[in-house]
Symmetry: C2
Subunit: 233 residues, 2 copies
Amino acid sequence: MRQTEVSSWQEIQSEVLERIRTRKWKPGELIPNETELAEEFGCARATVNRALRAVADAGLLDRRRKAGSRVLTLPERKAFVSIPILRKEIEAKGQAYSHEVLHSALKQPARETLERLGIAKGTKALELHTLHMADGFPYAYEERWINTNYLPQAANTDFDGLSANEWLVANAPYTEAELSFSASNATARQAEKLKIEKGTAIFNTTRRTTQDHHVITFVKLWFAPGYELLMTV
Amino acid sequence: MRQTEVSSWQEIQSEVLERIRTRKWKPGELIPNETELAEEFGCARATVNRALRAVADAGLLDRRRKAGSRVLTLPERKAFVSIPILRKEIEAKGQAYSHEVLHSALKQPARETLERLGIAKGTKALELHTLHMADGFPYAYEERWINTNYLPQAANTDFDGLSANEWLVANAPYTEAELSFSASNATARQAEKLKIEKGTAIFNTTRRTTQDHHVITFVKLWFAPGYELLMTV
DNA sequence: GATGATAATATGTCTATACATATTATTTCT
DNA sequence: AGAAATAATATGTATAGACATATTATCATC
């Protein structure tokens, strides 16, 4: 039997998904064990294992040693969002990206920010205010703090050329992050920066990036009206 | 050599992540091939393969046959968001969930909705307006269309008890979805439903759920002020 | 030099087998 | 009966070896 003819873990995966979807295997139910399925599909147990692991990763199966694999009742579907770099996002729309650093200062943050950065009182950090533009129009206004205790090189960097975001991606990549999304009415200051009317609803994101439990940067972004975040499950 | 002593694909995975993080393997660079790594770690190639596949899944490596594995320069970070059921979300905050169906009608949708549901002109669909509440206070207002051509049972269902969302999860589980998130100023109608002032910034989500390329439901949700969507990368 | 055939190579997948480990079921002992 | 020890079981992981497949590099040909 040529190996790709009948089996292949992906075909088994689709078959499993199909049986779950059509409710041949009902929510809450235990499915046959790997050995039985391997026999049915005429393949090795490892192949079934690979397929079932993939389905479990997708959040549709609960797999337990000795207990077996069970179809989950209310699958907590997990959505993938990729967090693009603003420049790329804007360029992907066919618009020209540019940015302007409106403020840059090494200073002692307020108590709240100290906590968010996880640094001691009396320590300084780099504060940056940046306006991101698409075709010259305000796209997003950014307020960022960079932990210069952890990343001292940041203090001597000029962010006029390369944006702080891209600089960080290049100089402190592969980090963890917490994100939050919300809506708010533009304050007078935000309205002025984004050249919109005060009170207009704007989409906000905040991001806290860490590496080895050290906070690297904390950013707030306010997007110009019309912004939409898309994702698929 | 006992198998769990030295190796294990997870240990190899951490080591690989560590080498990427510390830039021993720099962005853009080609890493040693599986056979070489297997030798270095003293394990089978399959074990290295498993580890590298996991790192690639996490979005840090680009793996190509013959070409080898390369550290990605700008890792497109992928965030996991789980889309909870509103009831669970509210209950998780320790608040009491309740909902009220304000409108329910089988009718011919407007052209725009027809398109979104992917159904023919002249066809009817079920329109539902629901208010979700936490501790009796408005939490989110929902406008939903259900494709009764694909899910005829929905037409005869009473959504006063079980919310449409939960009914759908139970009756048409394991679907695909597209989500969007944005901010807007509350219209007069929205403000009235959510008992807030007109113009207040509210967080919106829309969701289109499909199964086998058939649209099952299309939902818009407006959240009461203060709502925040969280996720981690 | 361009083109097309051919070889070389790294990853992708499968098999069979073995042992590990978590968890449940059963038996034994008190 | 209840607790503790033991067996049974399904998944988890590792191994060596084989073949598949995509892609690159090389070489022959015109």
